[in-house]
Amino acid sequence: MTKKNYISAAICLAVSVAIMIVTSMNFLAARDVPLPEKGPSVTEVKMLSDWFDGLKGTNGDTPVYVLKGEKEGGAALVLGGTHANEVSGYMSAFTFIENAVVEQGTVYVIPYTNHSAMTHNDPGEGNLQYFTLQTKSGERTFRYGSRATNPVDQWPDPDVYIHYPSGQQLSGSETRNINRAYPGRPDGNLTEKMAYGVAELIRAENVGITFDLHEASPEYPVINATVAHQNAMNIASEGCINLLLGGINMALEQSPTNFHGLTHRELGDYTDTMAFLMETANASQGRLRGATTVEQVLGGKDECYLISEGLGMLYVPWDENGHPIEERCGRHLQGIYEYVTAYNNANPDSAIVYSGVPGYSELFLEADPSELGGARLGSFLL
């Protein structure tokens, strides 16, 4: 070993340490997750650990926004960010929190159901880390996270994930997917504890109706769809008909009884809530997509999907206009409204009445095409 070798090794090490510092700052900054502003009906911001203290001090603990009306009524729960890379899920939750005026009953909104998943992303997918929107208060930055819990918080993945309590076997990576972890357990891994916390909230607050907001790739069969537990199918049918009458193409499926761990199955089985899950089409979720860009995530446009549409490979209509974030959030928010209205018709004593939340028309149909892709949605955010 010569002195020259030592010098070159030291230089290499110095460059390496510099890269470590820069990347560390980037990764650590991702743990600072932006929160919604408090809207007119937010009476309290609690933490999920208030219902299950096993989450206290962990990265799985997450804010729960409580929107309480003046009149007594029922309770609803909106879950955004179950999968932290499904943007319309948590942006719909943000929009609800910042706009809703709850007149009767209580609405609980969790913008980041899997908070840990929001603290990292999937660089192997070429995904974004952040995107910005121009809102009423100026430019705000939002995170783009990952489908699964941060491995820093839960590791290692088993080869085979065995769901509790069904014993269903799935790929090992699904052990960090909260939508395969319900109903959860208090002594399980972090993802199971988060799921248990949500179930405990539902049980403690007598939540009558629960919405889990998702996005999926255009080549996924369950798209532009609502999946509901069998106990909720009457309400789901009424709500779905009204969505169709309002011009929203919404499919309705009953939750399969042999696919475990999902909100629409387990929350319906293990709590008294009526469980709904909604899916919209997001180009950035798919395997047939081009480069993941802000235009693709928010504008919902993708050249590769235009080709895929021509080849008949998609389950959702696709043209050069794509499916902008306003259409996707509008579907979710209109869906919540119609299903809650149907719930109120069936349960007048525990009704949940709110107004002020932009729906499909306000967000999408009435928008100028130049506003689509984030500007229109941002105009409804504080």
Binding site: M1, I19, M20, S24
Partner: protein, 48 residues
């Protein structure tokens, strides 16, 4: 517990790679070692 064992293994490998960085004569191999150190150190510190 398994995470602690894993991190100890990572630290051990960091030591080996660091040793190799300073004993390697070829510059390309030294660069290789320096690159390999980045994810290992970030993992040992549980940053990524």
């Amino acid at each position: 517990m398994i995470t602690i064992i894993y991190r100890l293994i990572v630290v051990f490998v960091i030591g080996l790679v660091g040793w190799n960085l300073f004993t390697e004569k070829k510059l390309t191999m030294q660069l290789n070692c320096a690159m390999v150190l980045i994810p290992l150190v970030l993992r040992a510190l549980m940053i990524k």
